[in-house]
Amino acid sequence: MSPWRSDALLVWLLRGCAALVGAIVVLILLFLVRESMPAFRHVGIGRFFTDASWHPLADGSQGEFNLTPMLVGSLVAMLGAVLLAAPLGVGSAVFCHYYAPRWIARAYRKMIELLAGIPSVVYGFWGLVVLVPLIASWHPHGPSLLAGILLLTIMILPTIALTIDAALANVPREYVSGAAALGMSRWGIIRGVVFPAAKSGVFTGILLGTGRAIGETMAVMMVCGNVVRMPDGIFAPMRTLTANIALEMAYAMGDHRSALFVSGLLLMVLVIALVAMAEMIGKEHIHQES
């Protein structure tokens, strides 16, 4: 070890800070579980899926606690947004690297970075005053699943595009020039050489976008109409798990409040699953390279 006393002191200080930082996730999980316990005890896990509807009361034995419509709402909105944003994100990144002249690519990248920095509440506001009236003029009921999906698409697009952009930048130049020397067409090179080489980055980008879509609260709450029911069409108003927490937390008491923490725990589990998936994809990639 280093002969310096100050070094040992510093390392222990740093370890203390890092341990504190690492403990935050544990603390979050701990408190979510702690606050969820009353609902688990008085309502039980089964009733979150089998109750007739969502009419929560502070006394868990009386209210109705069905979270399913909101869980389905969250998942459908997420799926729609990812299905739209993934091709657009891939297209944007490919555009920057292989189609646009250099100055356009630079400006386009700056623009995407700017889009990534715009607050979700501003997206939500824009959706509320521009997108929702537009949808309403086309089909009655402006605040709808469609508005949520479109807005989420715009919001997660920068995340996906920037991650894939970074992955494409890491594709070795020799691959592309080698393929070009063989006389492959531009699209042939991208599809046959670039995409396979950047596969794990593309998936990571899409997973990151998925995580953002499922956790998004403000924008979705502002444009989706927030009616608790199973979404039965693209124009149906609906409520997501996140919006439900934000809307009801202000006045929730007792088991109702606790049920909101259960939905928070559910979100957390979904996110941890996504992170684990991303990590597995990353590992696979490393094995392929070695």
Partner: protein, 302 residues
């Protein structure tokens, strides 16, 4: 393939391979068109969004709007106290996250072997932390800071919640900064018999400043943009905060409240949205400028 004449003059008697060639040219053309269309679509939406905010918000912007207290639930007056609250929340957030983040980044980049268990655990927990939805941070902040630590709805609780949120971003960027410091610095310092502490303070820290600044900017951006985590931690009150224990409304919550809960609040919501976007732009520009300058100074001192 059976082909007597290797030189093809007329496309009519071209061998099958050449036909495939034109088909792939067609796919190539199609892909080019689709990619350009996608880029144009994204650009159009971006311009539409920004133009809408600037167009409607620019009329609201004035010195009075930035300094006056809000009246009539935000329909009249300005955003003065709200800007102060936003600044205070941000200050609390940075005062906590900056030292913690810097220390963790130094540990991960300089004092931990890549395969050490402790380092891997911290990294993994940061990965999860980065993905936690903001509303879950709000739930946690409410249960832990507001209720368990008895801070109530306060700027302090909001700032601490945000500090947990920005830590992963801050740490990742700062760590990159340390990794980009040349290896010769460490070897040279060791050869001169410097302690690792003084090597860190005098050589590596200055070299890592650009990374730190980038992390700082990204963190500030995320903190300024945050709404969901603050509603149930720092609260809704739009008066001038007297202390950190007072509830204070951030600019983002102001936009949300005006557009959703206040009829006729859209005009001032546009104004506030423009202020928020301008703030983010200014911080971004200033920081990239600073990073550039520091980068140059680093080059000069070498």
């Amino acid at each position: 393939m059976p082909c007597d004449n290797p030189v093809i003059i007329s496309p009519l008697d071209a061998p099958p391979g050449a036909v495939r060639f034109t088909r792939s040219r067609l796919a190539d053309l199609g892909a080019t068109i689709v990619v350009w269309l996608m880029a144009m679509l994204v650009t159009a939406v971006f311009v539409w969004l920004l133009a809408d905010i600037v167009w409607h918000g620019a009329g609201q912007l004035s010195w009075q709007f930035l300094t006056e207290p809000s009246r009539n639930a935000g329909r009249a007056g300005g955003v003065g106290p709200i800007l102060v609250s936003t600044g205070l929340i941000l200050a609390v957030c940075l005062a906590v996250s900056l030292p913690l983040g810097l220390a963790t980044a130094v540990l991960l980049a300089e004092f931990t072997a890549v395969d050490s268990v402790f380092g891997r655990l911290v990294r993994r927990s940061l990965d999860v932390l980065a993905g936690v939805p903001s509303i879950v941070f709000g739930l946690f902040g409410n249960a832990f800071f507001c209720v368990y630590l008895r801070m109530g709805f306060s700027i302090l609780a909001g700032g601490l919640t945000l500090a947990c949120m920005v830590l992963p971003i801050l740490i990742r960027a700062t760590e990159e900064g340390f990794r980009s410091a040349p290896q010769e610095y460490r070897l040279g310092a060791a050869a001169l018999g410097m302690s690792r502490t003084s090597a860190l303070l005098h050589l590596l820290l200055p070299a890592a400043v650009p990374g730190l600044v980038v992390g700082l900017v990204l963190g500030i951006g995320r903190a300024l943009a945050e709404t969901a985590a603050l509603i149930f931690t720092s609260g809704y009150v739009d008066r001038m905060p007297g202390s950190l224990m007072d509830s204070g409304r951030s600019l983002s919550i102001h936009i949300y409240d005006l557009s959703m809960n206040v009829a006729g609040g859209n005009a001032h919501a546009y104004g506030s949205a423009l202020v928020l976007i301008l703030l983010l732009l200014v911080i971004n520009a200033a920081a990239s400028q600073m990073a550039e300058r520091w980068l140059q100074r680093k080059l000069i001192t070498v």
